[in-house]
């Protein structure tokens, strides 16, 4: 089993602070050169939708942080195909390099990690 860590994001971006708390861990893991993988499943897929306007809700723009992923060597992002379809969302994301995976492929991928944290 590899020493990698999976952060499984299942919450929408504005109803809680889960997105920020998960991304903070991703960046720390990245800066400590840990092999971190981000999954977006269920309502978590809304975290990737392009052209959102957090300023309307007067919350901090967490989407800007995603742009720094490359700098932190966070390269593995996966989104659930079925979750996108169920919500009528297209595969247009505000970050690059997101892999769209089927439920069964996701399951297999998640099983590879030593640690999984769900947010």
């Amino acid at each position: 089993m590899s020493e990698s860590i999976a952060l499984i994001n299942t919450s929408g971006p504005f109803g809680s602070t889960e997105i920020k708390d998960s991304i903070d861990i991703a960046m720390i893991m990245g800066s400590y050169e840990q092999d971190v993988h981000l999954y977006f499943i269920g309502d978590g897929v809304y975290q990737l939708v392009a052209n959102q306007h957090p300023e309307l809700l007067k919350v901090k723009d967490v989407f800007k942080t995603f742009a720094a992923f490359e700098f932190y060597d966070i390269e593995h992002l996966y989104v659930c195909e079925e979750s996108l379809q169920a919500r009528g969302l297209t595969e247009i994301f505000h970050v690059e390099g997101v892999q769209v995976l089927s439920k069964s492929a996701l399951k297999e991928s998640i099983h590879q990690h030593k640690t999984c944290l769900r947010f």
């Binding site: 020493e3 708390d21 903070d24 720390i28 893991m29 400590y32 944290l117 769900r118």
Partner: protein, 123 residues
């Protein structure tokens, strides 16, 4: 087996009770608990000034008893503690409204715990 426990729930949350039960069970069954990491609302467990009625579950007291009897460290995420008003930095002085049984640490501590532990349990 080596465990690490991550607590993200506030002291009044039933999941906090479960977390304390898990922590005690790990130690009772001769496994090693490397540390407990308090994140998100979990940092409120360390508040020095929280007074919960006597007939309610005394989470903070239970954590203090746990760390005193087992020496398992209780780590508090400093960023989360600041966000939840437990640490205050002013120009003159820094204040910590944190019970002395807890150690204020950074997220780097979580990286260390998760890389050393065989299993991480997050509640």
């Amino acid at each position: 087996m080596k465990f690490a426990l991550m607590v993200t729930t506030k002291p009044t949350d039933p999941k906090t009770v479960t977390a304390i039960n898990i922590a005690n069970s790990i130690v009772a069954q001769d496994h090693e608990l490397l540390g407990v990491f308090f994140y998100q609302e979990g940092v409120l467990n360390a508040s020095e000034y929280l007074c919960i009625p006597n007939d309610e579950y005394q989470a903070t007291r239970k954590w203090i008893m746990f760390t005193q009897s087992t020496t398992v460290p209780l780590h508090l995420c400093s960023t989360a503690a600041e966000k939840h008003g437990l640490i205050e930095e002013t120009e003159q002085e820094d204040f910590e409204h944190v019970s002395p049984a807890f150690q204020v640490s950074g997220l780097g501590q979580l990286v260390e715990l998760s890389s050393q532990a065989d299993k991480v349990i997050k509640l």
